[in-house]
Point group: C2
Chain length 424, copies 2
């Protein structure tokens, strides 16, 4: 008997019928002798519907007071879900009780719409589990010191589930979702992409940060910090699938490197085309110039991703960076009106049609030549690399958007990810 | 400057546009110098939608654990409303903050789906008002001692508003609704029906209990207990109507009899056709027989309204009572299978096609002959009276359903309610 946390996404909770199926699956686990805590998301579409209403009554929505009200409104989606799931569990003959974040309580800071969890009180939940109840807790939300409802931002239910698992010392946190695990890359781009049985926590963190949408990155950080064994698996298997089979399905995010029988050099290929690139050309190369450029961007609350400064040449240098494509126009205006005039740069170029492709793998730490294999592969395909950044377990390149699929497929093949591996 | 409570029904909150209009109206009152507390209902249709979802996942829904979850789900409708209204007020340039019942807190007992308010803490709200904020509080809900969300039952937002007004010592509680006040009877049945400028608390209590749907009866009881001046008025006047005119519109429920310049003998005619009548014929007339019959009905959780026992005759008597028409089949079965065999009654008759018509008026206390005027009027119309009950300020008769409109119109005319009265 173990304490297990299940998390179900909005699609799994999308209709009364699906909620009844979730209840049947949870009941199966409870009947197998496990203590069950379940964290469901809002029914699919519900959060958007609620935020749409908010936008209609107040299109401005800027200050802290408005953000507080947004959280008050958005948090109801998950509250409905937990009540419905508890009812569905009761219909299955299980004792079940639901709690909103404030009832547990899940304490957070006061950063409305993007709060961070500070602590979780496990007393109430533990008492219910001891009394034989299934406990259903809202994802996505908590309560701040002033007693106001806060939400954790998009995908926050993943983080809630992992945080609850950490607070309760759960044996495993199972994230049920609409994909059946973590893949070497997106199967829609590379049909040969394989589901990984395991992936290291560090690799998952890079995959998540690079746009692999399977898990919210904060949930992976949380799992790493508290070493919560985390499994991503499909909620579309039949609910009455054999429990031992289900318990081994999907992808396990591990902390023990030696759990893997073989260590692929590269675990996966991540990519995204949500970025835009800017280059400030002919900047006088003097101390503080990077701050002059990026400080103005940061002051406008725009996140910068890749940054590259080329070597100086005649006292002048070129400075490139990427931002989210949604921020393209604002950055363009900033450069034209403020940054270029202030820095004495010659000009700037802007390119919204780029993509970023990354190879991720713990093996990069110990294997030389991984980056050069990447560059050679792209070169053989005639793909020009515009920018390069690296970390311990990741190398990213910025390319013309039109080469994205070609690059991902070539790299997937070059690093041997197409080939089936021994199952661990 | 006064502390004023506004309550808006689901229709008034039915769309983002209507919510913006509510915000404009409240802002007008706040700008006139009043401290404003607003209690909105859920958007129209929302509570039914939520309870429909609950029914789909668990059609049984019987025990306390399930009722707790129903309240968890249903309470979200009002939580969305308060957030939206606070946002709309902010869009109007007002400082505004919303609270769910548990945040105030509004403390209740643990009778899920029909909880009763025990106390309201006014500290938090008062601090916000002093800081110049409009405070928006969820209707319909509170929190019990265990920290679970409770709801007050259908129409509970009226009760919430009055309870908040009582706790805060508000100068007046304005109930904005889709009718423009309390009428002498339903204008759809009697076109000559007049809106009353004032009605006494006791009369309003009888009107509400008799099926006049303007106010939830518990809210009237609450207003009476704490002497909260209560006004029913239309939410469909333009929001920018002159505030002094608005403040005098609708119907004021008063506690001071001498506020009224003239005292009509009868204030209004109430009616409903939601009842069904049963007569147990030839019951042995011995002590305890009423309990034998009605005890079985009460044990089945069925409310009995009118009860009449005829005089005994040859040691046997007839015993009649009415119940809500929804309970017709259950009571019919109870009588056939249990009550008639157990009491040794000869037989029973059942009639779902009845109606109840009542005249209500404080004046009945001091004016003789009111009931006989009622009976004479009905007799002149050839309407047979099946049952009669009376209270200090009310006389009700049970009639064949087909005579309802005729009876109401005749009584409305007979008691002079058609004639315009001097406005007070």
């Amino acid at each position: 008997m173990a304490l297990i946390v299940h998390k179900y996404g909005g699609t799994s909770m999308g209709s009364p019928e699906r909620i009844r199926n979730v209840a049947k699956r949870v009941a199966k686990w409870a009947r197998a002798g496990h203590q069950m805590v379940v964290v469901p998301s809002a029914m699919s579409g519900e959060t958007n519907r609620l935020l749409g209403l908010a936008k209609e009554v107040n299109p401005g929505l800027l200050d802290d007071a408005a953000m507080r009200e947004l959280d008050m409104i958005a948090a109801t989606g998950e509250q409905v879900s937990v009540g419905l799931l508890a009812l569905a569990l009761q219909a299955e003959g299980m004792a079940a009780v639901s709690y909103a974040g404030w009832q547990v309580p899940v304490r957070t800071d006061s950063s409305y719409t993007k709060a961070r969890i500070a602590s979780i009180d496990d007393q109430r939940v533990r008492a219910d589990l001891s009394a034989g109840k299934v406990v259903v807790i809202t994802g996505f939300q908590g309560i701040d010191e002033a007693g106001s409802i806060t939400t954790l931002g998009r995908g926050g239910s993943d983080t809630s589930a992992v945080a609850v698992a950490a607070a309760m010392g759960a044996a495993e946190c199972l994230i049920y979702t609409d994909v059946d695990g973590v893949y070497t890359t997106d199967p829609r781009v590379v049909p040969e992409a394989r589901r990984m049985n395991t992936i290291s926590f560090e690799e998952m963190l890079e995959m998540a940060s690079l746009g692999s949408k399977v898990l919210q990155i904060r949930s992976v950080e949380f799992a790493g910090k508290y070493r919560v064994p985390l499994r991503v698996l499909s909620s579309f298997t039949p609910w009455d699938i054999d429990i031992d089979e289900e318990a081994k399905s999907g992808t396990l995010i591990t902390f023990e490197e030696d759990e893997k029988m073989e260590q692929a050099v590269i675990s996966g290929i991540a990519f995204n085309r949500d970025e835009a690139k800017f280059t400030v050309v002919g900047v006088p190369d003097k101390p503080g110039i990077a701050y002059q450029i990026l400080g103005a961007v940061a002051d406008a609350n725009i996140d910068v991703d890749v940054i590259v400064q080329n070597v100086s040449h005649d006292g002048r240098t070129d400075f490139s960076f990427t931002v989210h494509r949604n921020d393209f126009q604002r950055v363009n205006d900033l450069l034209a009106n403020t940054i270029v005039p202030n820095t004495g740069a010659a000009m700037f170029t802007a390119d919204p049609r780029i993509c970023k492709v990354s190879i991720v793998g713990i093996g990069m730490k110990s294997h030389a030549g991984v980056a050069s294999t990447m560059f050679r592969t792209l070169s053989e395909e005639g793909i020009n690399i515009q920018m390069i950044t690296t970390s311990e377990i990741k190398t990213s390149v910025v390319l013309d958007e039109k080469y994205m699929e070609l690059a991902v497929r070539a790299l997937h093949r070059a690093f041997g990810l197409d080939a089936p591996v021994t199952q661990v």
